[in-house]
């Protein structure tokens, strides 16, 4: 019969429509029709979608305990491997052009990520031998400008190891295990590895780190 296919199709849309109301869902249930998903949208600013743990946005720099105890040693591997070349690193040096050190490690004087160019590919995290850079899941960071506001400098990128632990517990566990293994390998006679105590002792220092202010808005 001509038109029967169209009518059946309209039946589908009608069922979807009825299924968006609680009373309609009860009706569908009573009629033994599939209820469908009902309303599956969320009204965004009031309710927010729960992201997967692996959800990645822009990278951040990890520090242990205090913000001057960066894991980054300014080796520039991520700068070299970054496909769109959005990372800019300068190692901290003194007047004689010798690298400065804190806690026996070199550190970056400048560490900028141009997030207007960054494509959140996670390659910097994969290549970093010091587990110093990780992917953040903060994504509500829109600004009014697209110049300096989108150039995240070192202070805007710093996050504590506790923050990393908080947003990505599974990944942080594997990273901590890798760091502990590395530390044990580097100093076999000393039982106290430098990193795990720092992670556990950073409860007070890290608490302020989790509330690191977001990059300034224009």
């Amino acid at each position: 019969m001509i038109g029967w296919g169209v009518l059946k199709g309209m039946g589908v849309t009608l069922r979807q429509f009825v299924g968006t109301y609680p009373a309609g869902r009860r009706l569908l249930k009573a009629l033994r029709l599939p209820e469908g998903d009902g309303i599956f949208t969320i009204s965004y600013p009031e309710t927010k979608q729960q992201h997967a743990e692996r959800f990645r946005y822009f990278p951040f720099l990890v520090y242990d305990a205090t913000p001057d105890n960066l894991r980054c040693v300014a080796c520039k591997i991520c700068e070299q491997e970054c496909p769109p070349q959005c990372i800019y690193i300068t190692m901290a040096k003194d007047e004689q052009n010798r690298p400065l050190k804190t806690n026996g490690r070199t550190f970056p004087a400048q560490f900028d990520i141009d997030v207007a160019i960054c494509m959140s590919c996670r390659i910097c995290v994969d290549v970093c031998p010091f587990e110093a850079i990780e992917m953040d899941n903060r994504h509500e960071i829109s600004t009014h400008g697209r110049g300096p506001e989108l150039m995240f400098d070192k202070s805007a990128l710093l996050r504590s190891a506790d923050y990393f632990q908080q947003i990505k517990p599974t990944e942080a566990a594997t990273v901590n295990a890798r760091l502990a293994a590395k530390a044990a390998k580097a100093q076999p006679p000393k039982p106290a590895a430098p990193t795990p105590p720092a992670a556990s002792a950073s409860d007070t220092g890290g608490a302020s780190g989790t509330t690191t202010p977001p990059p300034p808005h224009a």
């Binding site: 001509i2 038109g3 029967w4 296919g5 169209v6 059946k8 199709g9 039946g11 589908v12 849309t13 979807q16 599939p34 998903d37 599956f40 992201h51 997967a52 743990e53 692996r54 959800f55 990645r56 070299q80 491997e81 496909p83 494509m119 959140s120 590919c121 996670r122 390659i123 994969d126 290549v127 031998p129 992917m135 599974t170």
Partner: protein
């Protein structure tokens, strides 16, 4: 036209800024009344220098760029490049990763075919409804991609030697849930569309692609199979774990727009069968990335494949996706070329549109299933 009344041909530009052209694509059409006399595709508005960029980064650095080729099917794009690099460098893939690749590739096929059906109906004038039903289902699969890779669309997940990291706990159970629930959605979509008289009137006998032309123009994918040619790289090449999967290759009879729609629906049903088998047979444990793959991932510049070339190809949802790589022994590809199915399927557009009405050109283009990110690169 009658002999008594002579009129000029009318030239119309469809696109480049038009929602029905699926991106910035222009069709310069010559019309005789409403009938198409000639159609000239104008490409290049979305050219991003993909191949040259990838010749300047390491082999691993190419992967995030392949996500942006066909942004509906990031997983299969990753897989295509991974297959090419594995051939070039002789990298083995562990068993579990082979199955994970099959699962992710078939989920991508579901995403692509579901959304292209929605867009095709959008082109026909059914604004919104079928497209939103399609996007509702697509969203569930994209959530799974986010769970595994961290990103819904720009996955950057499949790597030479396996996948970047093993899927998180509970991932396969959620895939099982999707696989079990999907047939009901397909039934619903078919009730809505397959027997709909208006859709049949609009699509049957429209945009016929003859078998011989399809073969000689190197058309691949659902478009080729809708013209009745049995050619599916999952069967022909048998990459990943596909040789162990039992599935049919659906073929069309007429090669018109309706067949292209229906072949995609049948392919989705076969994809669900493949998913069921893969979920049943996947090894519960084992590495998801080979040792060499891990080493390449952690230090991409140490991967210097021997001099030579390799062509890796897979059956992407749109057709044969091939990556041709030439290595000169350095950490970067010397030559990197993409054989993009959207681009090559688009070459027969004029032949399909000639003699049809101008309104049909839109749905013929919609049935080709192009993504401009892949056409222009």
């Amino acid at each position: 036209m009658t002999d008594t009344l002579k009129t000029d041909l009318m030239e119309i530009n469809l696109g480049p800024q038009h929602p029905s052209t699926h991106g910035v694509f222009q069709m310069a059409v010559q019309l005789d009344g409403e009938t198409i006399v000639s159609l000239k595709p104008v490409l290049g508005y979305l050219h991003r220098n993909h191949e040259q960029i990838c010749e300047d980064v390491s082999y691993i650095g190419c992967f995030p760029y392949t996500d942006r080729l066909d942004y509906f099917c990031a997983m299969t794009n990753n897989l295509g490049l991974a297959v090419a690099i594995e051939q070039l460098g002789g990298i083995e893939v562990p068993e579990r990763a082979q199955y994970l690749r099959v699962i992710l590739a078939e989920l991508t096929r579901l995403v692509n075919h579901t959304s292209v059906t929605g867009f095709l109906l959008n082109d026909m004038g059914a604004f919104g409804t079928p497209l939103l039903y399609a996007f509702r289902e697509r969203e569930k699969i994209l959530d799974l991609f986010e769970m595994a890779s961290g990103s819904r669309m720009m996955c950057n997940y499949i790597r030479p030697g396996g996948v970047r990291e093993d899927v998180p706990e509970g991932f396969l159970d959620r895939v099982r849930g999707i696989t079990a629930a999907y047939p009901r959605f397909l039934d619903e979509m078919e009730t809505l569309l397959t027997e709909n008289e208006i859709i049949r009137q609009r699509t049957q006998g429209v945009g016929v692609l003859p078998r011989e032309l399809a073969v000689s123009a190197s058309v691949t994918g659902p478009m080729l199979r809708a013209s009745g040619v049995d050619y599916d790289l999952r069967k022909v090449d048998g990459y990943a774990a596909y040789p162990r999967m039992r599935f049919k290759v659906p073929l069309g009879l007429a090669g018109d727009v309706y067949d292209r729609y229906y072949v995609r629906v049948l392919e989705m049903r076969e994809s669900l069968k493949i998913l069921e088998q893969a979920l049943k047979e996947i090894p519960a444990s084992g590495p998801a990335l080979s040792a060499k793959g891990q080493q390449i991932g952690r230090s991409p510049r140490t991967f210097r494949p021997p001099k030579g070339d390799a062509y890796g190809r897979i059956e992407s949802p749109k057709g044969e996706l091939g990556f041709y790589l030439v290595s000169d022994g350095s950490p970067q590809p010397y030559r990197y070329h993409v054989r993009a199915p959207s681009f090559i399927n688009l070459t027969v557009l004029e032949d399909m549109c000639r003699g049809q009405k101008v309104a049909d050109a839109i749905i013929i283009l919609g049935s080709v299933d192009i993504v401009m990110g892949e056409v222009d690169r």
